[in-house]
Amino acid sequence: MMKRIVAAAVAALAMTTSWAQAQEVKVGVNLPYTGIGAEFAQLVDRGMELYLKLNADKVRPYKITLIKRDVKDPGGANAKIAVQELLTQDNVDILAGWIYSPNAIASAPIVTAGKKLAVIMNAGTAQITNMSPYYVRTSFSMWHAGYALGEAAAKLLNAKTAVVGYTDFPPGKDSLAAFKRSFEGTGGKVIDEIPMGGAGAVPDFTPFFQRAKDKKPDVFFVFVPAGDHAAAVVKTYAALGMRDAGIKLIGPGDITQDTKLQAMGAAAVGLITMHHYHADLDNPENKRFVEAWKKEYGATATPDFMAVGGYDGMAAIVHVVQTLKGKIGTEQALEALKGWKFASPRGPISIDPVTRDIVMNEYLSEAVMKDGRVFQKVIGKIDGVKDACKEQKIGPCAPK
């Protein structure tokens, strides 16, 4: 008799806990919270938290719990372990995060084996979403900006020749491939390609820029990872007098990242970038977003494209949770996201149902001085840009 009562009690307990679990969705977040990427982790993390805070009513009646793991570095190995632990020990329903491409590449087999929806909030190497069927990207691909800028450089900036300087790691090579493909496809010529050291440390750019200057191109396309590289790029460009030599510095928005732009000051004026987001974009969603960010994190704080990757990523996760009523099946979650549309601070976005990558606007911007601060003025816009690499199956995305 006693045994029966105990068994019934255990069964009842099990039922209540499983009922409680259905209400709670566990999202396993992997970001480099310490080490050289700590600053980026904070931006993406704040983007996610801000979305949850501003949209508490959209989450109810479900509960989203973020389980955060530090992946420390861009090496890949630590990220792989973190993702594995999130899947096997924390039994998360959804994975999210990935600042660095090497980490997303290293995690891909684990994500595939774990069979959970995995939302990439930053890592931009184009073919990452081909590496696991569960990857969905809410950030960008290097080809979004790189490919669009190649065309714009030839058509709008009337450039005939370009030198490309890039940080020597997967997104750098990707960015070079994207720019070269469209620039040469539009009649331009890339006359030199300069690898400029690894992503781990900011190098002294002088020898690389000196080499670029000696080639006398019309434009100097620079890809460096977001963060501290950009300030050194802008400084060296000014110090070597490249602007006076008639060489325009162009690149994806990493060289004018909002969080770094004001510190560059007047040296940044004249930089031309192609990107999907900067804090000066003029649309109602962005105004609200920037205002909320400053209210939450301080008047001098600013969101940037990384923050938006986290913010939109969380919007995608909330959409999945609502559509599936809190019970996350991976196939259904992927279905729910294919073709999902959202009014993001960067303008309208959607998820391409075929590639699971983001579709969004690209903005050609020029840095100008306005009211004593560096302002990014939009001088051109392309609507609904898809990742050209996967769209046209070219470069690293060509069928093998």
Binding site: A239, D244, G265
Partner: protein, 291 residues
């Protein structure tokens, strides 16, 4: 003519980079030569000094030169305290203990700076007169590089005079060449070491501030460039001011030229050259032969 300009810009860029390497590394070489103490935290002092300089300029509006002096004094004082409190206990310890202690100290420096100030790069704005380009007759070049070369030459000259012409310089040279003999002649090695240690750390701080334009300034600085400082010391020979100077220039120029003409090789060339050189002359290019 074009070729000449090319060579000039290469030499200027490389020598300027070499000067920064020299200013940071010279203290490391002398303290290593004096006591045989492997101080891997030397880059940490360069980082702390750079921060002191950058923050003094940012928050107190100090000028560039007063800030450099401030950074030198603060770092020298702090390192003298650390030397008396911690380093002095490990002089007779094994090399492994010394390495473990100093590398632990580096991690603590990095973590403290990250915690107190943040992981981001500290911008160090140069005075406007040091920015931009200067006309050197044959070619235009980056003003700051030229200034750095001049400053470097002044510092080398000063150090050389101090080393060769002063009492304390003679004591240091004597102690580097033969510590036991110097000790038995009544030279107080411990005091000498504290002075050179503090002075070397102060120089590192100066290098951290002067080099921030090229090398940046963030908590990881302490480890990022340590390999370069150690290469300079290894190639230059322990305890040799002029040796370190030539080695720093050689490495600065070689690194610049190789990066410019074969950027695909990255930093691998410098490491490969160092290995070959040390196989050929283990005491360094300018070091005295071990007896």
């Amino acid at each position: 003519m074009i070729f000449g300009i090319d060579i000039a810009s290469m030499l200027l860029g490389g020598v300027a980079a070499g000067m920064v390497l020299f200013i940071v590394s010279v203290g490391l070489s002398v303290t290593m030569g004096l006591m045989g103490f492997v101080n891997l935290a030397h880059g940490g002092f360069a980082m702390l000094g750079g921060y002191a300089i950058a923050l003094a300029m940012k928050h107190w509006g100090l000028g560039f030169v007063p800030a450099l002096v401030f950074g030198f004094v603060v770092t020298a004082a702090a390192s003298a305290m650390l030397e008396r409190l911690l380093y002095a206990r490990l002089y007779r310890a094994s090399e492994l203990d010394q390495v473990l202690f100093t590398i632990g100290l580096v991690f603590m420096m990095i973590a403290s700076v990250t915690l107190l100030i943040g992981p981001e790069n500290q911008p160090l704005a140069l005075p406007t007169m040091l920015q931009g380009q200067i006309n050197l007759g044959i070619t235009q070049y980056r003003t700051y590089s030229v200034v750095l070369i001049v400053v470097g030459i002044v510092i080398v000259g000063g150090l050389w005079l101090g080393f060769e012409r002063t009492q304390i310089g003679a004591q240091i040279r004597a102690a580097v060449d033969n510590r036991r003999m110097a000790e038995s002649l009544g030279i107080n090695i411990a005091r000498l070491f504290t002075i050179t240690f503090a002075f070397g750390s102060g120089m590192a701080a100066l290098g951290g501030g002067l080099g921030a334009e090229f090398l940046g300034l963030d908590p990881q600085y302490a480890l990022k460039y340590l390999v370069y400082f150690l290469i300079v010391v290894a190639v230059g020979g322990l305890g040799r001011v002029t040796g370190v100077f030539y080695a720093a220039l050689l490495i600065g120029v070689l690194d610049f030229v190789l990066k410019k003409y074969v950027p695909q090789g990255g930093t691998a060339f410098i490491y490969a050259l160092t290995i070959l050189l040390l196989l050929w002359r283990p005491q360094g290019l300018f070091g005295a032969k071990a007896t």
